[in-house]
């Protein structure tokens, strides 16, 4: 009851400012809109680790010096960087997903949800961006340092694991944070395949109520908030990992 009153008060107040938030008082629209916030947060929380882990693997492949590892990854990186994520997503969901369904003998057997496809497409797209950034970092590790490690008996993988990645990760952290910020924004493409994240919910509301401005304001505030947190965490990690004497 208290809650209803608060909502009512808010709607009233905004109404006086000329902003129409009346849908909040309804059942269905208010519901999908509230769910939208949660779905977006969930989506962001799942996609960030996916992008980081895959990005690391991609970067390792790109710098491995083995053609059979680097060529497919490079191909994927160029493809995903140079075509719209939105189309990739629609294509994956409407075509690839159907192919998977057919292979598994019907959509009811297909465990891949739209949510999965958003995580996969956005996650891999941002992973490609991370990979490029980390590759830059790996290649910036002085070759003399790698030779020193090799001289001590480190294998190629051990050099990557203990020397190159720790250094490259630090060096590319600002770029990675940039990538994560665009990841957060990219999750909005999920609306194209009906993942009920916040933009989807907003679209569903504003196509009926035409209160686009009101919802855009909320979108701006919400995404700014998430990205503010991401940037904060990023600079916290940067400070935690800072090592004396190096402007990494």
């Amino acid at each position: 009851m208290q809650d209803m009153n608060l909502t009512g008060l808010f709607i009233d107040l905004m109404g006086r400012l000329g902003l129409n938030y009346e849908f909040l008082a309804t059942g269905y629209e208010a519901q999908i809109w509230r769910d939208g916030f949660i779905t977006t947060l969930y989506l962001v929380a799942v996609t960030i680790p996916v992008s980081l882990i895959v990005g690391l693997i991609f970067a390792a492949c790109l710098t491995s010096g083995r053609l059979w590892l680097s060529a497919p990854v490079r191909g994927f990186v160029e493809l995903t960087r140079n075509t719209p994520t939105l189309v990739q997503l629609m294509f994956s969901f409407l075509v690839l997903n159907t192919v998977v369904s057919n292979m598994l003998g019907g959509a009811q057997n297909n465990p891949l949800s739209p949510f999965f496809w958003v995580v996969a497409v956005v996650g891999l797209h941002v992973a490609a961006l991370h990979a490029e950034a980390i590759r830059g970092g790996i290649e910036a590790v002085p070759s003399s340092m790698i030779e020193a490690a090799r001289g001590m008996g480190f294998s190629q993988f051990e050099i990557l694991r203990y020397v190159q990645i720790p250094l490259a990760f630090r060096a590319s952290l600002p770029a990675i944070v940039n990538g994560l910020i665009s990841l957060v924004k990219s999750t909005t493409v999920g609306n194209a395949i009906a993942v009920s994240e916040i933009t989807y919910a907003s679209i569903m509301v504003w196509t009926q109520r035409d209160n686009v401005v009101e919802l855009m304001i909320v979108l701006l505030a919400f995404f700014s908030l998430i990205n503010f947190v991401v940037a904060r965490v990023g600079s916290w990690v940067e400070r935690r990992l800072a090592i004396p004497g190096y402007g990494l």
Binding site: T63, L67, R74, R81, P84, Q88, V95, I146, S182
Partner: protein, 261 residues
């Protein structure tokens, strides 16, 4: 020794990819159209419409990236200014607009800018595509400001010292010594911004621009064939790929050129 091997393999692999990249998607489209001729005819009929849409994407991309780069570099330098009243506005601008989804920024331009301006009693239309350019330029300038700031900070202080020793003023040092060196460092992240701006142009239909994504939807709606809907997507991907990939290659070439220097 692996050091000596690595560049060779990457260059062969990228040479192979260079061709695959350009050929693969158009090839899918052509082969498919030839197998199903009725689909091919349908597609050929729509190509002019799609192309006219895509020309808008190209126009908007070029303008937005140019404008965004200019503004971004300026803002980036402002963020490093020694005076807070220069620094602070730039920092606030960057933080707000870097975090905003492109959708919101482009939409905001319809709200802020009129559709026509009255000048000496004449109605001058304010073209929709200019709104899209402004929306995307704001976003890209915020990104590029950060890139510029990072690049300037990554130039060794000894370079600044050398310019001081020679009697350069701060601005002269920036202009002749520091910024030229920033170019190389900023190229890869700049490319990322440029390509995401190109992708972002697909939101321009929001402000009423006839662009490729929207044109493809119009076409699919009109044709009402499922396979056409799919092939239209492939065409869209191929189009964006042909727009962005050459820029990506060019920046990598430039990167290598600067490396040599």
């Amino acid at each position: 020794m692996s050091m000596a091997v690595t560049p060779k393999t990457t260059s062969t692999s990228s040479r192979v990819l260079r061709y695959i990249g350009f050929v693969a998607m158009p090839l899918i489209v052509i082969v498919w159209s030839l197998i199903d001729l009725s689909l091919g005819r349908e597609l050929v009929e729509w190509i002019p419409y799609l192309a006219s849409g895509f020309s808008m994407n190209i126009l908007i991309t070029i303008c937005a990236v140019t404008l965004g780069t200019t503004a971004g570099v300026t803002l980036g330098l402002m963020q490093l200014a020694p005076f807070w009243f220069v620094r602070l506005p730039a920092q606030i601008y960057v933080q707000i607009f870097r975090n905003a989804p492109a959708l919101v920024l482009i939409f905001a331009t319809t709200y802020i800018f009129p559709f026509e301006i009255v000048l000496f009693g004449n109605y001058l239309p304010f073209p929709d595509w200019v709104k899209a350019v402004i929306g995307l330029a704001i976003l890209s300038s915020a990104y590029i400001a950060e890139i510029t700031r990072g690049a300037v900070l990554s130039i060794p202080t000894t370079q600044w010292e050398a310019t001081k020793g020679l009697g350069f003023s701060r601005l002269q040092a920036l202009r002749y010594v520091i910024l030229p060196q920033c170019v190389r460092r900023s190229l890869p992240p700049w490319m990322n911004v440029a390509s995401s701006m190109a992708m972002g142009t697909s939101l321009a239909s929001l402000v009423g621009v006839h662009e490729l994504m929207h044109a493809a939807t119009d076409a699919s709606t009109a044709v009402r064939r499922l396979d056409f809907t799919i092939i239209a997507y492939v065409v869209v991907m191929a189009a964006f790929f042909t727009l962005c990939y050459p820029i990506a290659r060019l920046t990598r070439r430039l990167e290598q050129r600067f490396n040599a220097g």
